[in-house]
């Protein structure tokens, strides 16, 4: 019973964290884009009167959601009502449950009970992530089809082709990492990254698999349909692409889905390539520096440090994606497809072959 409660609360915690972070990213995106473009950005709804600066928190976290949820929910004539309503949920739900296999800490020891800070420890690990992410494509495809609008349909078709194309380099980049660490379980992969190469370099995934990291970053951003890969929505060509005909809460769900995908990409990059919750030289009983000297820490503090490190890394990679979004122009569609199939795919295949060969020769 207690085990069930622990798993249940961990799962709930993960889903709520992802939802809240998704909302928070809306603020980061609006204010961050303003910073990057030397604008002031959202600053209308201020509660504390005239401050020398306005962070726009009220604007984006309170006023925007209220606006979105009180808008008219319009279904265009001739649209398929059922699928038009279902599509945002079909797109969002698989993404929300993806995060449960990503570990956000080592173990939490409470009253002699060791709790692994990973909501679901599945044998298939990474494959679960791929399965869920691949299901979220249906939100885009059905949203585009059910709207009875040409722009939306074009966006849906573009989205399905793009997401299928980039799933392949994404999966192959993951195979390189799986080969290097010899496990599909994300918690085991993270634990393996606590080792030290030559006594002082942390054995993070990026050291073993730098090429896989670049492929994964590119394919991951393409999967989350953000600039420079935002062809399915492409405002200047397709109005809003697959969610042209959506308004109110349903449109908010599509937007949130994009942010959640960005968080998943950030979480996976952190876990696979940047040590997950690992802090260099921090073991379960405290810091062990390679130049000698130890700093013993209580177990609870170590856990808190690890969770904090994981959160900071995830936030950093979310920020990196937002920076990329606001600095790069959009690809042309043929460039997008040929980048996926002619550059990323052969590169990912070569990476897998080379990794396998090195492992075969040296182990």
């Amino acid at each position: 019973m207690i085990d069930f409660l622990i798993t249940f609360s961990l799962t709930l915690l993960m889903v709520l964290m992802v939802l809240n972070l998704g909302g928070l990213l809306l603020w980061v995106e609006r204010k961050g884009s303003a910073v990057l473009q030397d604008r002031i950005g959202a600053n209308r709804a201020a509660v504390f009167g005239k401050l020398p600066f306005n962070l726009g928190i009220v604007n984006t976290l309170v006023a925007d959601p209220i606006k979105l949820f009180t808008k008219e929910d319009f279904v265009p004539p001739g649209a398929d009502k059922l699928l038009h309503t279902l599509a945002p949920a079909i797109g969002l739900v698989p993404l929300l449950v993806t995060f449960i296999v990503i570990p956000f800490g080592d173990v939490l020891i409470i009253g002699g009970r060791e709790i692994t800070l990973q909501a679901a420890n599945l044998n298939i690990g990474i494959l679960y992530v791929l399965a869920m992410v691949s299901l979220s494509v249906y939100g885009v495809v059905l949203g585009g089809w059910a709207s009875n609008n040409r722009w939306a349909l074009l966006g849906g078709i573009r989205g399905s082709a793009q997401m299928i194309s980039y799933e392949i380099p994404l999966g192959l980049a993951l195979i390189g990492v799986v080969l290097a660490f010899g496990s599909l379980d994300l918690q085991e992969i993270t634990r393996a990254q606590g080792a030290l190469i030559g006594g002082w370099i942390p054995a993070w995934g990026i050291v073993y698999q730098p090429v896989a990291f670049l492929i994964f970053l590119a394919a991951g951003i393409a999967e989350s349909k953000r600039i420079p890969f935002d062809l399915p929505e492409a405002e200047s060509e397709l109005i809003s692409g697959y969610f042209t005909e959506y308004s109110g809460a349903k449109q908010a769900m599509f937007m949130l889905g994009d942010f959640v995908e960005a968080i998943i990409v950030a979480g996976l990059i952190t876990t696979l390539f940047f040590g997950g919750w690992q802090i260099p030289f921090l073991l379960r009983d405290g810091f062990h520096f390679p130049w000698g000297g130890t700093l013993a820490l209580p177990s609870l503090l170590v856990t808190l440090l690890q969770v904090g490190a994981f959160t900071l890394k995830v936030l950093f990679f979310c920020w990196l994606q937002i920076m990329i979004r606001w600095t790069l122009p959009r690809f042309r569609y043929d460039q997008l497809i040929s980048l996926g199939w002619k550059i990323l795919l052969p590169l990912a295949l070569a990476n897998v072959m080379l990794t396998a060969l090195i492992i075969l020769l040296f182990e």
């Binding site: 398929d80 699928l83 599945l122 044998n123 298939i124 494959l127 679960y128 791929l130 399965a131 691949s134 299901l135 494509v137 249906y138 495809v141 059905l142 585009g144 089809w145 349909l153 849906g156 078709i157 399905s160 082709a161 997401m163 299928i164 799933e167 599909l184």
Partner: protein
């Protein structure tokens, strides 16, 4: 898998599978097929075959069916209003169905007498177990499948170049 779970899954599964061929709209047909494949994956989960369940979703529900939908949307297929022309297909379908049911019955009879209660091996359905089976016992069929897929890919490329 107990009695209740089996039928709680089996009845919707069969109904949805019938809807695949009964529904007039091609998009809905494809979606019902996705749902069928998804429920099959749930079956595999209950049978402790986690790896197969994951592959079922990644390959069939997540990739192949998206391509189906892609083609249906690209060709803008409308709902099927005209009755399907019959070329004695109905009779062939009935004969095929009867043969299939007979085969299944035979298999069921044989397996239930032999290994009904045998326990599963320790690491059944894990990635390691499935992988080592594929690359030792079933190496030849596995490689032949790979070559078949390669032939299909090459054929598609040749056709696309015309």
């Amino acid at each position: 898998m107990d009695f209740v779970t089996f039928f709680a899954l089996a009845i919707p599964l069969v109904v949805i599978a019938i809807m695949v061929i009964a529904h007039p709209s091609p998009v809905y047909s494809a979606l019902f097929l996705v749902l069928t494949l998804f429920l099959l994956a749930v079956y595999f989960l209950f049978l402790d075959a986690h790896m197969v369940a994951a592959l079922q979703i990644i390959v069939y529900a997540g990739a192949i069916m998206v391509l189906f939908l892609f083609v249906i949307m690209l060709l803008n297929l409308q709902s099927d209003t005209q009755p399907t022309p019959r070329h004695g297909l109905g009779r062939a379908a009935i004969i095929g169905g009867v043969i299939l049911v007979a085969e299944l019955g035979l298999l069921l009879q044989r397996s239930s007498s032999e290994q009904a209660e045998s326990a599963l091996p320790e690491n059944f359905g894990t990635v390691e177990a499935l992988g080592s089976q594929l690359f030792t016992t079933y190496l030849l069929p596995f490689e032949i499948t790979g070559i078949l897929l390669l032939v299909a890919v090459v054929g598609a490329v040749v056709l696309a170049k015309r």
